[in-house]
Structure formats: C-alpha cells, structure tokens
C-alpha cells in the first residue's frame, strides 16, 4: 500500500471516529444543556462523515488499486495526489472550526475562513479527478 494511501485511510479513520463522537455529543443534548458550539455542528457532522470518512477512504483506495497510469508513473502525479490530501484535510479541518464559529458569531471574520475552506476542498476534488481520470481506462 503506497504511503499516500496510508495517510488517506488513517485520516479517514480519524474523521470517522470524530464524526461518530460529534453524533454522541449532539445526542447528549437529551440529558444536559450543550455548549452552543456543539449545537452548531449539525452540517459539520455530515461532512466529517461523508467527505472526511467516505470520500477520503475512496480517494485512498482508488489511488492504490486503480489501473496504472504508465509504467514510469503508475499512480499519476504524486505531487498532485499529496496536494489533494492536504487540501481536503486542511479544508475540512477549517470547516469544522469555522462553520460553527461563523454561525455563533456572524460578521466577525470567521466567514472568510469558511470561504477559504470551500476553495481548498473544491481544489481537492478537482485534483483527485484530474489525477484519476487517465487511470480509468479500458483494457
């Protein structure tokens, strides 16, 4: 398994556990009053689960198992692959902090971090598509 795949999958596991933990915290609201930050994590939970866990796991496995690009560069561009990894993790990480903070404190600058998070994740998606496209080929 290539190093980039290991990083994708281990990061995916971290988001998986974190998403489940957020779900527990949100459910704990039936027992006690929750800090406003926890209550504002609703959209973040879905994206930790679907982007951080599911999509990132797919990215890692695709990078590992899909047909070779060429004999010299079997997995396409390593640099683009690593860029995708950092862009999606920094982008989603920023979202985890900035989205609830922006909800609780609108017009205080958190919105800019949210916008940066959007751009980073969008670039990660495009990077993955560009690096994978040529590896999806008929025999």
């Amino acid at each position: 398994m290539p190093p980039l795949t290991r990083w994708f999958i281990k990061s995916a596991f971290i988001f998986f556990v974190a998403a489940m933990a957020v779900r527990v915290l949100q459910t704990a609201g039936v027992l006690t009053d929750l800090p406003p930050f926890i209550n504002a994590l609703g959209p973040v939970y879905f994206h930790m689960f679907l982007v951080g866990w599911v999509t990132q796991l797919i990215f890692g496995v695709v990078f590992w198992m899909f047909p070779k690009y060429t004999q010299e560069d079997p997995r396409g561009s390593d640099r683009l692959g690593w860029s995708t990894f950092w862009l999606i993790n920094i982008g989603l990480g920023l979202r985890v902090i900035a989205e609830p903070m922006n909800t609780l404190n609108p017009d205080t600058g958190w919105g800019w971090l949210l916008a940066i998070s959007a751009i980073l994740q969008w670039l990660a998606g495009l990077g993955f598509v560009i690096n994978t496209w040529a590896r999806v080929k008929a025999n």
Partner: protein
C-alpha cells in the same frame, strides 16, 4: 477495466466535480454572501454526490471486480448492466432538472423510479456473480 466500468467511473468523476463545485459555492456563500440563490443548488449537490458519485463509482467497481463466469461471457449479460447505467443517469437528471418544470409535478417521482429501476436491474444482473471464484 471493462468499458462499462470506464463509463460508470468516469461519469462518477464528472458528478464528483459538479457536486464539489456546487458544495464549494454554497459553503463560500455561507461565509461570504455573494449570491443567496446558490442555495437552490443544494438538492443537486446531494443528488450528484450521493447517487452520481458514490453509488455510480460502486456500480462501476462492482462490475469490474466481482467474480467472472468460467463458462459463457465472462461478465454475463452485460447489456443488462448497461441498462442500469442509463437508468441511474436518467434518474439523476430527471430529479435534478425537475424544479425547472413546475407544470410537471410528477417528474421527481419519475426520477426516483428510474433510480430504483437501476438498483433493481443492477442487483438482478450482479446476483449470479456473487459466488465463489472459479465456480
């Protein structure tokens, strides 16, 4: 990789691009409001990423890697699997474009019917390939 898997997976990659673009626009707009109307992209964002990307990628990979038959065509009746490709994509676009046709309120239902048809057709096709290797 068989041709149908190439179609499934490359189409899935296109939906991933569209879904991330729509999601990025909405998230950007949540931080810095540029155009409130982008929120109307939410149903398409969900449809593209859940059905167009995730499900379609799984169908393409399943068609590629499930055990093949040792007798007859290796992947069985491929035309049935092709039907599921057309049905799932017809379903996605019927569903996503339905808000543009208010005079046709049954369009979302038709889209979902296409999608359940795709699921049933693919499951029926792949059923026999879920078997021990070599049998």
């Amino acid at each position: 990789m068989p041709l149908l898997s190439v179609f499934f997976i490359r189409t899935a990659l296109i939906y991933l691009s569209l879904g991330f673009t729509f999601g990025g626009l909405m998230l950007f707009n949540k931080g810095i409001t540029i155009m409130p109307a982008v929120w109307s992209l939410l149903p398409a964002h969900i449809e593209f990423l859940l059905i167009g990307w995730t499900i379609q990628l799984l169908l393409g990979v399943a068609f590629w890697i499930l055990p093949r038959f040792s007798r007859g065509p290796a992947r069985g009746r491929e035309e049935i699997a092709w039907l599921s490709y057309f049905l799932v994509n017809a379903g996605i676009w019927t569903d996503v474009l339905s808000p543009l046709f208010h005079e046709l309120p049954w369009l979302p239902l038709l889209g979902r019917l296409f999608e359940v048809g795709a699921a049933a057709v693919f499951a029926g096709y792949a059923w026999g390939r879920v078997k021990p290797i070599g049998s």
